[in-house]
């Protein structure tokens, strides 16, 4: 049971190990036992979980409530889409390009939004995401592409034919591996010296400043890292759906991502994954029962706020442990 031990550093067995192992088992078994629909839902959870983790690095560890994280879901997707339109299908070009451009975008947006805190930060991240939503809506490529029509992807970005992504099972395993890499990298990040400074900025910025740290630079760096991870998730999301449209950038998506993180449990790395799974499954289940699923889901959020502050992960985390 090394993967969970690595994450929690606990030698004692607790509920978290069970949850992580069960989750991993389900994700690995889905292509064998599930049909195409189940597998698409599972892949969607894996890809969205990546972006939820990236948001939680900002929100749970950095204390920065970004209400515009959908902008990176869009930027990653659109980089893949535009490259494919101009004939660059190779995944070794598309994925790095999606990451790099998302990091640059995060650098520019972060430079402006991180000058503010609190309510301002929430509103301004939302406003910048909305601006990109309008850009995606307005910019046309050629006659029929872009704009509110979105961009298609004829086939998933091949990696020199190493993996056959035409098979959804192989693509699913690919996303699971990437999620594992992101999870491990994020774990190393938040427990590094850099991660400690970020968390200290969240708890008491003035004190960190007086210790001689340039808190703005640290926050900008974490904003860019988060944007890069989210951009990769966006590129994979585009590959999964073979389609990207301004809908990916809609501000409701940013809100959904916040819900995934908070419902699952912010300030943990497993929480966002659980939250994503619960959100996507609830969406599938309730939206099948009634078209007015938001009328049920909205009040559910209120219940979470009033009674479940720690999220689902808080329920399974041992009391004494805050790791």
């Amino acid at each position: 049971m090394w993967p969970s031990r690595l994450l929690f550093g606990a030698s004692r067995f607790d509920l978290r190990h069970l949850v992580v192992l069960a989750g991993l088992a389900i994700l690995l078994l889905v292509p064998i036992v599930g049909d195409a629909y189940v597998m698409r839902v599972a892949s969607r959870i894996v890809v969205l979980a990546m972006i939820a983790i990236s948001l939680d690095i900002l929100l749970g560890y950095g204390g920065l409530i970004s209400f515009g994280h959908a902008m990176f879901l869009g930027s990653g997707g659109y980089v893949v889409g535009v490259l494919a339109f101009f004939g660059f299908q190779n995944g070794f070009i598309a994925y790095p390009a999606a990451i790099i451009l998302s990091v640059i975008l995060a650098g520019i947006v972060g430079y402006l939004v991180l000058r503010t805190v609190g309510v301002y930060f929430i509103m301004i991240t939302l406003a910048f995401a909305q601006m990109l939503y309008y850009v995606a809506n307005g910019v046309q490529i050629g006659e029929d592409y872009g704009g509110d029509e979105g961009l298609p992807l004829s086939e998933r970005n091949p990696l020199f034919g190493l993996l056959d992504f035409g098979d959804p099972a192989i693509f699913h395993y690919f996303t699971v591996v990437i999620l594992g890499v992101i999870l491990y990298g994020s774990y190393r990040l938040v427990n590094s010296r850099f991660g400690r400074v970020i968390q200290a900025c969240r708890d008491n910025e003035r004190r960190v400043k007086s210790l001689g740290y340039n808190t703005f630079r640290y926050r900008l760096a974490v904003f860019m890292i988060s944007g890069g991870i989210a951009g990769l998730a966006g590129a994979l999301h585009m590959n999964l759906q073979k389609f990207v449209s301004p809908d990916e950038l809609h501000w409701i998506i940013s809100g959904d991502l916040l819900i995934m993180v908070i419902v699952g449990g912010a300030n943990s790395l497993i929480g966002p994954i659980i939250g994503t799974a619960v959100f996507v499954l609830l969406e599938e289940v309730i939206s099948n029962l009634t078209e007015h699923w938001m009328a049920i889901f909205g009040p559910l959020l209120l219940i979470v706020v009033f009674f479940g502050r720690q999220g689902i992960y808080g329920l399974i985390r041992p009391k004494a442990d805050d790791g």
Binding site: L59, I65, F67, L112, V113, R115, T116, G118, V119, Y120, I122, M123, I124, L126, A127, F128, Q130, M131, Y134, V135, N137, G138, V139, Q140, G147, W251, G255, L258, I259, I262, A266, H292, M294, A295, F297, G298, P299, L300, L301, L302, V304, V305, F306, R309
Partner: protein
């Protein structure tokens, strides 16, 4: 492009700016005084539009009046009814839900109000349907008027601009000349001090929230004859309102007023002028971006807005 057309668009920009101000004035106080992240302000705009439109429709159907002045009277009554119902709904929400949230974090506010926003959208869909709902302009305000010799303008737009300006002046007097206004200003500058002086801050919060809800609903009803009301209409204007508040500075009514007019004009003129300059594909995109670029510019030089409250 004639001068007349530009003048008309400029007036439309001012009219839109006044509607934005009605939204922003309440919201900037809610942010500033209550330090509360409120995502349902757009929902109140939408609900105001729906309740108002339905009231007008029902009043017209019930009375069957056709005299143009009587119909206008019914229109005004419908507007008032729409605003009142929305204020009551928002009061219930404030007393039962928001009151428990003030002590929570911003994250709690975002999550709870986002949930309420989703709920109100579905609520409106169930109650009023997902089709856009329209209300005819009052017959007395249907034909354009000549504002200065040679220039005619929609009398309805002119009327709602005047109503908006009157409300703005009333709000200004309320804020600067009354005891409650003094408390609101004090709350925006230093909340702890107000509570420390023994003021019932909960009562103040309820009043501020009710004023904000009423103004948002008023903007929603008055805009309905121009654009019709439908589910989701409030969110777009709410995000614009956020931009206005960021530019004007949280908690500042004066900042909200100037920023509203600015954004109203930039948005309207951008949509009008840029397509003819940049072509019909890039033009609208750049026009939509223009206000956000303005916001970015303000942020770059004045991170806490043009007129942040509490800074003198």
């Amino acid at each position: 492009m004639s001068f007349l057309l530009v003048a008309e668009q400029l007036l439309n920009g001012v009219q839109f700016g006044i509607m934005l101000f009605l939204m922003a004035a309440g919201l900037t106080l809610i942010f500033g005084i209550m330090d509360f992240v409120n995502l349902i302000h757009g929902s109140l705009y939408m609900l105001g539009g729906f309740f108002g439109a339905k009231s007008i429709e029902l009043l017209l159907a019930l009375t069957g009046w056709e005299d143009m002045w009587l119909v206008t009277l019914l229109f005004v009554l419908g507007v008032i009814l729409g605003v009142c119902i929305t204020v009551i709904v928002s009061g219930i929400v404030e007393l039962t839900i928001f009151r428990r949230l003030y002590s929570g974090t911003h994250l709690d506010h975002v999550l709870a109000t986002f949930g309420l926003l989703l709920f109100f959208n579905e609520f409106a869909k169930i109650l009023f349907g997902s089709e856009p709902m329209n209300v005819p302009k009052p017959p007395t305000l249907e034909s354009p008027v000549e504002i200065i010799p040679g220039i005619t303008y929609s009398s309805y737009r002119l009327a709602i601009t005047v109503v908006g300006v009157v409300v703005a002046i009333g709000l200004y007097l309320l804020i600067t000349r009354t005891r409650i206004g003094m408390l609101i200003r004090a709350g925006a500058s230093n909340r702890e001090m107000v509570t420390g002086l023994g003021i019932n801050i909960n009562k103040l919060y309820t009043i501020v929230f009710a004023i904000g809800a009423g103004l948002a609903a008023l903007a929603g009803v008055m805009t309905t004859p121009l654009t019709s009301v439908q589910v989701g209409i409030g969110e777009e204007i709410m995000i614009l309102t956020f931009v206005v508040i960021v530019i004007g500075g949280i908690g500042s009514i004066r900042g909200a007023f100037i920023a509203s007019i600015l954004i109203g004009i930039i948005d309207t003129m951008g949509r009008f002028l840029l397509p003819s300059v940049l072509g019909y594909t890039a033009g609208p995109a750049v026009a939509s971006m223009a206000i956000y670029l303005a916001m970015a510019a303000v942020l770059f030089f004045r991170p806490s807005g043009l007129f942040a409250a509490g800074r003198g």
